[in-house]
Symmetry: C2
Amino acid sequence: MADLAEVPSAPRGGRRGRAAAALAASQKYYMQDMTMEAIASELGVSRSSVSRLLAYARESGIVDIRITSPVEGGSALEREIRDRFLVSAHVVPMPSTVSEVDRLERVAMTAARLLPQFVDSHMTVGVAWGSTLSALSRHLPSKELHNVTVVQLNGAGNMQTTGIEYASEILQRFGEAFGARVQQFPVPAFFDDPATRAAMWRERSTRRVLEIQARMDLAVFGVGSPAADVPSRVYAGGYLDRDDFRSLAEDHAIGDVATVFYRADGTWRDIRVNARATGPDLERLRRVPRRVCVAAGVHKAASLRSAMAARLVTDVVVDEALARDLVAT
Amino acid sequence: MADLAEVPSAPRGGRRGRAAAALAASQKYYMQDMTMEAIASELGVSRSSVSRLLAYARESGIVDIRITSPVEGGSALEREIRDRFLVSAHVVPMPSTVSEVDRLERVAMTAARLLPQFVDSHMTVGVAWGSTLSALSRHLPSKELHNVTVVQLNGAGNMQTTGIEYASEILQRFGEAFGARVQQFPVPAFFDDPATRAAMWRERSTRRVLEIQARMDLAVFGVGSPAADVPSRVYAGGYLDRDDFRSLAEDHAIGDVATVFYRADGTWRDIRVNARATGPDLERLRRVPRRVCVAAGVHKAASLRSAMAARLVTDVVVDEALARDLVAT
DNA sequence: AATCGCAGTGCACGAACGTGCACAATGGCC
DNA sequence: GGCCATTGTGCACGTTCGTGCACTGCGATT
């Protein structure tokens, strides 16, 4: 039964051999419609190993599953968002009964599987952090690329903890997925004093990061929303104090991207907190060719709508309810 | 549980609704990793229906599964074929113990799933017939395209039966898969008298077909081999008689593509049977930008090698044993 | 040289899946 | 308007699949 000649000299799954076996198994499973049992006997391993090989093949991008709408331009909802906001939309289908947490999880997983399509060799990818990106990063399949750089979009320290692990975990996973160099941004999320920020921005180490950010080909981020029931990380994590919130309210901030705030009309001039934020100036962000925003939950509608009004976004991934909310006048 | 608002006014799976439901189910299954059970309850149908929806989505090309080798340029075998014959190769992995019939089936299925990648809107696709193409056509997933033409490469009648159903069945399936117009070629596989062929070739109806053939962007065919254990259709189907075989042997024919014969060295001049054949002149065939040859079984090695020597082929899909045979020596 | 750690394996179990069947609804056809 | 053919559906069954667990053998570390 078993054809032992398959992998002549691989006593125990060698580094190289694993990918080759996964490739062969994938071809047999997905192109030839064989059962795992049959593949196992051809490969001379147990069926469970085949199951694992296939899982590996999916994660590692050997098998690439993509879904294309049969109708040109996607669903009606997606087309309407595209027409209204000039943003390419991906709506994650989902009944309205789904809880906030599941919503986030499902949107993040979908976004994770969409993302590799946007990333290619020699690109620089800017990544924000927060609950959305954390979930997303956990589901990223990988893609064999060269010379990719992943750079942190904004600082992640706060008063209680450095927060570095949290952000770096996300970056790390992006790095692994795309075989990328990872560039952290070791500054707090917000400075207390704008002058400190200015000083830091003159530091060589900081400038290096800023220069990398300036070369971004792709930015991935969520949107913050003060109204969140599952509050955005930046509002709940102790990054801002009572005075900050008052200041934001006075300046009519309605949401943020990577700790930089904007108003409902898409403007952001003179929002005082921004002078202490570490995220990219929104003017600069807008120069990034592709800017993917991932968001789940209707409470993000106002913030996301404003972000789109500010033209911060070229692609959105949203759940169905949020999508409906966006287009409901 | 069930969210009845999903498809407001579709009492029983409407024509349009099916694709939409399949799309939603696919996104939930493949992008969000939900179980069919969970999807069923969200869509308000039974789990079995979801299973069928997903099958439909795969067949209809809503879900597109592709497999890419982790190493640049495919397996070693594929690279060697590419280097040796200047032909892009796809090797279907398979142990040497597999029977001839299974071999054919598995190669055909793989080829069927590869083919949509080569076909696009506004193309003209030439299709031969035979056991390989019959098997292939049975597994073609479909792809939503416009203005595609499928044209029969060579006649299919013989002395006993018209053979039209056999060939037309194949064409039909190609047509359905790509939403294409189908152009049959209602002539026998071989004429008895070269003069009849010449006369027919002057007929307007025939010329129309030949003109369509002249515009082909893609041709798909197998190779015939007199040595086949599973004999190629053209040798076993009663299309040729004893004298014809003698004539072919005298002229050193070693194989054929779409009923047109060639020699081991890649030449075909003065093979007398060709004057009565209905397949495309090989010179003309060579002008088709992409020419995909599908073959299974080591007995096809000589014929296929010669076809490649004659530069009739730009892409091959072959089983592993045949591939090894091609590069041996 | 002996030990530790870890990646990879098969087993066995429960969960998830595909499909033949009988039935219901629908749309076309007399 | 009633009939039949066609298409889709849920149920139930047997099959196929994913995963926690205990185990093995290799490479690194001391």
